[in-house]
Amino acid sequence: MTTLVREFTKGLWDEIPLFRIVLGLCPALAVTTSLENGLGMGLSATFVLICSNGLISALRNIIPDEVRVACYIVVIAAFVVCVEMVTKAYFFALSESLGIFIPLIVVNCIILGRAEAFARKNGVLASLADGLGMGLGFTLALVIVGTIREFLGAGTLGLIFGDTVFLSRPFGFLQQAPGAFLTLGLLLGAMNLLGKLGKKEA
């Protein structure tokens, strides 16, 4: 049980995808113009990650080593297309704002990375826990970046406060790609600083 918890929590801090492993940058930078987009993208990726981790782990003794990556891609792509079809039918606005980045979850390094590095060597439960942790860690990171960029860049937080405008003259630059890099860089720095301080105390 403790190992399961451990597999789950490592994704939230020690190996939090965006900030520690620095994987999955492309969607992270592109869609985090708002809290809502970040959350939607994170949850979509989490769903795919949990499902693909679980299934790949369940099939790990059946899939021959030589074609494993091809099998992983098929499994991952199938789940991604599921997400795409469901968002188009039930969350149309979200699918419009995420656009091409939903299909692109297929090539999100985190997902293939977890399949290759974790799911194929571990049991189903551990893989599910790993997927959930990593997915939520990714979501958390996207939500943080999205919140900062939306609040400072557009002056709103549409998901929670509707049309309320907090800043009348927002830093529009944060909504652009360079703003994404800046936000991410500062967050990485802050995380490293926190990590260092934590170590000194311990």
């Binding site: 199938a78 188009k88 039930y90």
Partner: protein, 212 residues
């Protein structure tokens, strides 16, 4: 040898099962997704064209118009694979224009254009953009009022090509391909409308007359 057979079998089975599952899900979600496209893409484009005729509407009124346009959905069967969808735009209750959609090849795939034709004159009433996956901030400018307003009441004799290609449409600088896609969509729709005008008008019980 045995090993390679296993490779083929496992990969094929996984692909087959994934394909079947996706096919099933597609069947379950397709209709809803199409409805979303109708409601959030096509209808607003028709409403844009309606506003060319009636002037800009306040949000509440526009909502009512969009609701009403949903009921003005018609189909005309001209022997293509599927009956072709179009919308009737009414002025004081009488059919004033019909709007139909066509597609051009944009930078990021198909670009959907909704074109309104005035029934009486055959001229364009206006143009709205439905679905597209153009580059944000560049190709998506074809949605801008400043680009679309050139089509208001554009004569049916216009060559529906961008000026670079010898036509009468002002392209957006930096977004020639997207502008061209819009022109292509209009050209195709114009061709369709001219060819099938009578069938379309018969479908809404208008006796074809006026300028051909």
């Amino acid at each position: 040898m045995k090993n390679s057979i296993r490779m083929v079998v496992v990969l094929s089975l996984i692909s087959l099962l994934s394909g079947l599952a996706l096919g099933g899900l597609h069947g379950l979600t397709y209709e809803r997704a199409q409805n979303n496209i109708l409601k959030f893409k096509k209808i607003p484009a028709v409403a844009d064209i309606y506003e060319v005729m009636a002037g800009k509407l306040p949000p509440a009124e526009r909502e009512a118009i969009e609701e009403g346009l949903l009921a003005e959905k018609r189909f005309v069967d001209v022997g293509e694979k599927q009956p072709v969808l179009f919308f009737v735009i009414r002025k004081e209750g009488e059919p004033f224009a019909v709007a139909l959609e066509n597609y051009g090849a944009g930078f990021g795939g198909e670009l959907g254009v909704m074109i309104g034709f005035e029934i009486e004159s055959g001229n364009l009433l206006g143009v709205g953009i439905t679905t597209m996956s153009e580059t944000p901030g560049i190709g998506t400018k074809v949605r801008d009022e400043s680009f679309l307003k050139q089509f208001h009441a554009m004569g049916k004799g216009t060559v529906f090509k961008v000026k670079k290609d010898g036509g009468g449409i002002d392209a957006i600088s930096g977004a020639t391909i997207s502008s061209r896609a819009v022109a292509q969509g209009i050209e195709l729709a114009e061709g369709f409308y001219t060819t099938h005008r009578e069938a379309i008008l018969a479908a809404i019980d208008v006796v074809p007359g006026g300028a051909q």
